[in-house]
């Protein structure tokens, strides 16, 4: 976790630090993790039971009136590994393909569960954005559920429908969790890591066949001092 403030961004960072302190004090037990990138961003993680109340708290007490988006992450390492890549690509990055992670990731704010729901809200009074994450415990076999945010932010409606069909996460109290994109009788949850990308299985990816040369340290850096071009 970053501790040293970037001197050039000190003002913004102070604002985020103050916000973080207020959140951790007022959310109490519900506050279980945070990640502050000075001058850039703030992420917090809340307890699963407190997910619905957090939305209300953020909107009413912290003036996060702007609902930005809601989504989810499946932290399972892809069971297909890097087999979806061509041999050419594997040669580019031998370490990564050898050490393909087998552990469940958890992101910058930690977490224990395979699925996490995350939402982004924005405050126009302080001009700060905030990402809120929550663990969704369960194996993914129809037992994933968190509270809905639609009663606080009506805009969460479509986002939750999308997460429901793509990850199979149920939102308790949602007014109508119908499929948004997929046909009604679609089976499986496409954005889960164990859902294969069929196009890649049917026809293997040819890999990088045309690598664009990058200006490296040895090349002449393409700089322009062309007088015509700078008017």
């Amino acid at each position: 976790m970053p501790s040293e403030a970037d001197t050039t961004e000190e003002v913004v960072d102070e604002a985020r630090r103050a916000l973080l302190e207020a959140l951790s004090a007022e959310l109490g037990d519900a506050f279980v993790g945070s990640d502050l990138v000075p001058g850039k961003d703030l992420t917090i993680r809340v307890a699963t039971e407190a997910w619905g109340d957090t939305a209300l708290y953020l909107r009413e007490r912290q003036r996060f009136r702007y609902f930005n988006w809601l989504s989810a992450i499946d932290w399972l390492p892809s069971p297909f590994g890097r087999s979806l890549d061509a041999e050419v690509d594997k040669k580019l990055d031998p370490e990564a393909s050898a050490a393909a992670s087998v552990e469940l990731g958890s992101g910058t704010t930690g977490g224990d569960s395979r699925f996490q729901v995350l939402a982004r809200v924005h405050s126009l009074t302080t001009n700060l954005g905030l990402t809120v994450k929550v663990d969704v415990p369960g194996t993914g076999d129809g037992d994933l559920s968190v509270e809905t945010w639609t009663s606080v932010y009506p805009g969460a409606n479509w986002h939750e429908r999308e997460v429901n069909e793509m990850f199979g996460i149920h939102f308790l109290g949602h007014p109508g969790l119908r499929n948004l994109y997929l046909p009604g009788d679609f089976e499986g949850y496409p954005l889960r890591k164990d859902f294969p990308l069929l196009a890649r299985l049917v026809k293997p990816w040819p890999g990088i066949v045309d690598v664009e040369p990058m200006p490296g340290p040895s090349d002449d850096s393409p700089s322009t001092d062309n007088p015509e071009d700078t008017l």
Binding site: N127, P190, M214, E228, T230
Partner: protein, 391 residues
């Protein structure tokens, strides 16, 4: 102006009375009207199932997914430079703008900063994409309301901008020009002067549209007070861009977002808002924004620094472990990418926050209680691209 509102009030009362009569006579249970999937107001294939009572919409339910391409899944099996090819196709009228937030997110994770000349080129192309995109809206809105002429002017004058984008990047619609650490190529000789000329054409086009459309009595009668979005409702639905600014919310990420990879801090311009929140306001704000974009591009052209166009980046791009969310003010509104990296060649997860998805999510609320002809006006004024909804 008062005459119009009087007449509109009379028409409204008459319509109400007519509705009441019809309902009493027929005890209508309502009918279901399918708008789309091919209606020209949709810029793609959107279908709206509207339940009607007479001429009034009781319930509107947009049905999407006709163009869902699964970019979030596809991005997980592509390297970072490959992803830009995909995301070019999200909002296809302002393609370059789609690349920028993703590249900025990757740069933030890799802790790379683009050199000043690259930042300028990036910002110019970003604004040109905005002009090309919104220019089409300015003409298209006329077509939706039955005025066919403006769209031809829009296509004619957008061509000036597309030509400039093409001569700089090689692609009229899908430049795929932004790179982690800079831009792909330098600008061709003479490009700066040519671009200035094209901006003149766009300015003339804006004046024309102001006369032809904004000053038109029929246009005003059909848009003023139609589809009013109060600021608070707009915020809770995640509306962004000109849609929220026309509800009086003074928020523009070009000014309010700190983007180290873009050059907005080097230029003087203003953010336009409108207090009304109706369809007219949304058109008016967009028209002013095109003018502001011209102003921004002009200043950037004048202050173009020399120097390299690429920072030093590794030949094979591996992004360190971490998470970053970067959003920018795109032609259609706020667009952002939440990129999760586990240190490999490909992103572990990419969440695409597209503007039209949130802008459209207000439509069931907004269309309730409107009349059928106004449905088209409202949808056109919200201005969405289906690729930007379905992704």
């Amino acid at each position: 102006m008062t005459a119009i509102s009087d007449r509109r009030q009379l028409a409204y009362i008459a319509a109400q009375a007519a509705d009441a009569r019809v309902n009493v006579e027929l005890e209508a249970e309502g009918m279901t009207l399918n708008i789309g999937p091919q209606h020209p107001a949709t810029h793609g294939t959107l279908r709206i199932v509207a339940r009607l009572d007479g001429e009034q919409v009781i319930e509107a339910d947009p049905v999407m997914g006709y163009m869902h391409r699964g970019y979030e899944k596809l991005a997980e099996v592509r390297t970072y430079p490959q992803v830009t090819t995909l995301i070019n196709r999200i909002d296809w009228l302002g393609s370059f703008a789609n690349e920028v937030p993703f590249i900025l997110a990757a740069e933030q994770l890799m802790d790379i900063e683009a050199p000043p000349r690259a930042r300028h080129i990036r910002t110019i192309l970003f604004e040109l994409a905005r002009i090309a995109n919104v220019t089409l809206f300015l003409g298209d809105m006329g077509v939706q309301l039955g005025a066919v002429t403006p769209i031809f002017y829009a296509f004619r004058d957008r061509e000036h901008i597309l030509n400039q984008i093409e001569s700089a990047t090689g692609g009229r619609f899908h430049p795929n020009f932004d790179r982690i650490g800079g831009v792909k190529d330098d600008l061709p000789a003479g490009w700066l002067a040519e671009t200035k000329q094209s901006l003149g054409e766009i300015r003339k086009f804006c004046d024309q549209m102001e006369d032809l459309i904004l000053g038109n009595e029929i246009f005003q009668a059909r848009t003023r007070g139609i589809g009013v979005i109060p600021a608070d409702v707009g915020l809770s639905y995640g509306l962004s861009g000109a849609n929220i600014r026309s509800s009086g919310v003074d928020w523009d990420l070009r000014r309010d977002g700190a983007h180290p990879g873009l050059a907005y801090n080097d230029v003087e311009w203003r953010v336009w808002t409108h207090p009304d929140g109706d369809s007219f306001a949304r058109y008016w704000v967009r028209l002013q924004e095109v003018r502001e974009s011209c102003l921004i591009v002009e200043q950037l052209l004048d202050s173009m620094p020399s120097g390299p166009i690429m920072a030093k980046v590794p030949r094979i791009i591996k992004v360190p472990e971490g998470e970053a969310y970067v959003e920018t003010e795109n032609p259609l509104g706020v667009m952002g990418y939440y990129v999760v990296s586990q240190g490999g060649l490909e992103p572990f997860r990419v969440k695409i926050r597209s503007a039209s998805f949130s802008n459209m999510s207000i439509s069931p609320w907004l269309l309730k209680g409107t009349y059928v002809p106004d449905v088209i006006t409202i949808l056109a004024s919200l201005y969405f691209i289906l690729g930007d909804i379905d992704r």
